[in-house]
């Protein structure tokens, strides 16, 4: 079913065009991004139910102008015909005065060229199998309670079983003198969290579900109950990993985490501008095994970060970041591209209209190989299959990687032993990890639950993934 565009944004188009027109009298570049994102977050657990608006909900605008030297922005969420002067004054008087006072305080201002735009007018409306409005909130909660109750009846060790479902309808509009873009799409994500306790030993496991979907996700989640409860119970007997270097097989989820943390953040080209990325020195050089090809792009896959245009009005693309082990290029917002004299790749994303745009990942993944998972397991003398993302952190300058992983399933003499270790921290030097990749399975899986931060803030939706990969990593 087609997703419908925000009628609010459509109704504001004439006002937005008027603002662009007025500001264009004084500024050589003016654009406005308008957002209207609606969504609900449902949480069900043993002791209660929560239903709130999604934290991704927003409705507002951000104006960007070229102030003669570089770009300035103003975010606001109150607009009508009568308040246009206030918006124009904020940019034309207040911001200009502040910039002047900063210059007077001997603060230098970095210069940027003008953004050049070609004429473009396009619209994108996403599709889902079942629209969120097909079920009432009560029916969704009932489905979630059924999942929770089914899980709680499965084992006496459960102290809680949490079910979360999150549906978000994104609408955006981008207006400048040369561009008129609209897009609307829906994504959803869900979590099952199984919490078990024996004596005072408490462990939990989680499974996540996501996609450009709506309530159909609830049916997918129903099928994940037993696996996640079994995993959490196993964790009660998990041992700590003996620190050291191991042959491992990373699940598609962990492959995605590596792609994301190892090279995704490292090729965000605002990092190139700041000279914070070691990758800049390695363009055209080998950074990974010849088996490794990695993509990023809103148009590279149909997943959580697939869109027509980014938050700077640039159309999404499919970027081959690594091709057969060679680092080809980075991913870019429009201002970094101006500085670096490269072409923007449609990766300029904002947490919301209230925040600045940065170069950010979209759908990031390793492509498939030719191996089977069975052959990969059989090839390992002693090691682990790693699965369950907990968190990750990038180090683009020095190419360190930190991945917190829920569990490692032991492999001995080519066979799974049933023993597990948990939690596992995987660390290493990015090229060492990527060059050690020796086998890749045949099917790529992407997932996009949670959010990706830049450092510790600026959270955006992304997806990542890959096939199963075999590599050599350091575990602790």
């Amino acid at each position: 079913m087609k997703v419908s565009m925000s009628s609010f944004l459509i109704s504001q188009k004439p006002v937005l065009k008027k603002i662009v027109g007025i500001l264009s009298e004084n500024y050589k570049y003016v654009s406005i991004l308008g957002t209207d994102t609606k969504g609900k977050l449902y949480n069900v657990q043993k002791t209660g139910i929560d239903l709130t608006d999604s934290h991704w909900c927003e409705r507002g605008f951000v104006v960007r102008v070229h102030n003669g030297v570089n770009f300035s922005e103003f975010s606001f969420n109150e607009i009508n015909e009568n308040s246009l002067n206030n918006i124009v004054d904020e940019i034309h008087l207040n911001m200009t005065n502040t910039l002047e006072s900063l210059k007077n305080a001997s603060i230098t201002v970095n210069a940027y060229d003008l953004i050049e735009e070609t004429l473009i007018k396009e619209q994108f409306l996403g599709e889902v199998t079942t629209l969120p409005s097909t079920l009432t909130s009560k029916e969704k909660i009932e489905k979630m309670c059924f999942i929770k109750d089914s899980a709680l009846s499965y084992s006496d060790l459960l102290v809680d079983f949490r079910v979360a479902y999150h549906e978000v309808h994104v609408s955006k509009i981008f207006i400048s003198n040369n561009k008129e873009l609209e897009q609307s799409y829906i994504w959803s994500e869900g979590y099952l969290v199984s919490i078990v306790r024996r004596d005072d030993n408490t462990k939990y496991a989680h499974a996540s579900f996501s996609g450009l979907k709506a309530v159909e996700l609830l049916d997918e989640m129903k099928n994940g109950i037993e696996k996640i409860v079994d995993t959490s119970i196993k964790l009660l007997d998990a041992k700590s990993v003996i620190p050291g270097e191991y042959d491992v097989i990373c699940s598609p989820e962990i492959s995605g985490l590596i792609a994301h943390e190892a090279f995704g953040h490292g090729v965000e080209m605002d990092m190139f501008v700041k000279k914070r990325a070691k990758a800049l020195e390695y363009i055209g050089k080998s950074v990974a095994s010849e088996l490794v090809t990695m993509h990023d792009g809103a148009a590279a896959a149909r997943n959580m970060s697939s869109y027509l245009f980014d938050d700077e009005g640039v159309l999404g693309t499919d970027t081959i970041v690594i091709e057969k082990g060679i680092l080809k290029t980075g991913i870019s917002d429009i201002l970094s591209a101006l500085k670096l004299e490269t072409k923007p790749t449609g990766n300029g994303k904002r947490e919301s209209f209230e925040r600045k745009a940065y170069a950010r990942m979209t759908n990031t993944f390793f492509t498939a190989g030719n191996d089977t998972l069975e052959d990969m397991i059989a090839s390992i003398k002693y090691g682990y299959i790693l699965d369950g993302t907990m968190s990750g952190m990038e180090d683009p300058k020095n190419w360190g990687i930190q991945c917190m992983i829920l569990q490692g399933s032991e492999i001995k003499d080519g066979k799974l032993t049933g023993e597990i270790v948990s939690p596992v921290i995987m660390t290493g030097y990015v090229p060492d990890v990527l060059k050690s990749i020796s086998m890749l399975s045949e099917t790529v899986e992407l997932s996009g639950s949670g959010a990706c931060g830049k450092g510790y803030k600026e959270f955006v939706k992304v997806s990542d993934g890959g096939p199963y990969i075999k590599a050599k990593v350091r575990l602790g």
Partner: protein
Amino acid sequence: MIERLKKLIAKSVKSDSLEMNRIKTASYKNVSFKNDSFKIDAFKIIENRITASELFFVKKGLDMYRTKNVHNFNITVYKNFEEESVSYTGSSSAIIHPTMSDEEILQVIEEVSFAASFIKNKYYPLLEPSHKNQPQLISNFSEKPLNEWLSTLTSAVYNSDTCDSGGINSSELFLNKVFTRIVSSTGIDVSYTTYKGELEFITNWKEDTEEIELYKHIDFSEMDYALIDEKVKAMLIISKEKAIASPTPALGKYNILLNGTPVIELLNYYVTQASAKTVYNGMSLAKLGENIQGEDVMGDLITLTLDPFMKNSTKSSPYDSNGFPVDSVKIFNGGVLNMYHGDLRHCHYLNVEPTGNISNFVIEGGNYSIADFKMEPYLEIIAFSDFQMDTLTGDFAGEIRLGWFFDGTNTIPVTGGSISGNIKKLQKQMYLSKELQKDNNFIGPKIVKLLNVNVTGIE
């Protein structure tokens, strides 16, 4: 806008637009929506107006200037109902944008009202107004408009960026003025203004090896030039150390000293364990009158106070998000859980006095000085890639970006590798330094010493 919302709530509960029984009568104070299966018992509105100035620097050059002026409202609707002789308080909340039409707002109210009618949360009473006079939060940022602080803040950030071998790579400065008003149908109507400053900066340093970088984020609610300058200076010093750091040796189980921010993450475990919500949900087994660290503790004992009025904290607030007037409360005393903390709902469930939600915490120092800790071999860690503390399981871990390894004779800076452990297993031999640190919403030991922690080295 709040008056408009109140009128629309009243209009909504009187209308018959939903296909179910409707609320018959309404008044704002003591909302007497009664006798139907679909009624509203109360509502709460939170208003936030945020104005902000933001500066983005690459090296010392201003790369972008941004401002913000946004106005947001959040409405929560409550409904009491009974099913099979069990009493419930259902609630649901939603965001109201200032550009919403009356029709849109009515639709939102109807949706949250509908949701509140089937959300089966155990009954709890709603907060009534208090006559307590809460102190106002005072910040020197109130002395002039936000944009007039920008040059002073910039000067503080770059004052010590004068070294040849390293400096600030880039920085981002955010200064927010946040007006909050909380209004409820029970008669609560409180408001206050807070300031939230944020500084994120990256430092580089280059010695004979490749250039390194470190990341720092600080929060503040007052203009304290010396504090920002000190933080930058400290980062430059440790950046230099990282530039000459050796790979962390594979130490196996070792005594570690956590220094600075990781200490806060680690000790936050005790705040979470004493939360009424965590206890009610069965995620904490902490019991009043018992020592959270167990019997026969050889290390220091936790004494923890929540202080809603901590100076220069972005988390300070005279009221929590329900409009509850908060005050300082001692949660742990010598390791013993003195009281749970939390909102009225969860404290009611546990049958304890509510404290309101408070986000500043103070932990008393221990019996030993940092110099005492450093008499024996140790691995001291001051910067992780991302120190992770799981407050449910007690597991913690992080990749080392900078530490100092003392083998009993020499001290060298080290980098790489990781540590991991579980606080439940280590807390009997946990030592808190006498020396304290202050970091936004935390005052407590500067260093925590833990024994026998797993250290994965790379050499």
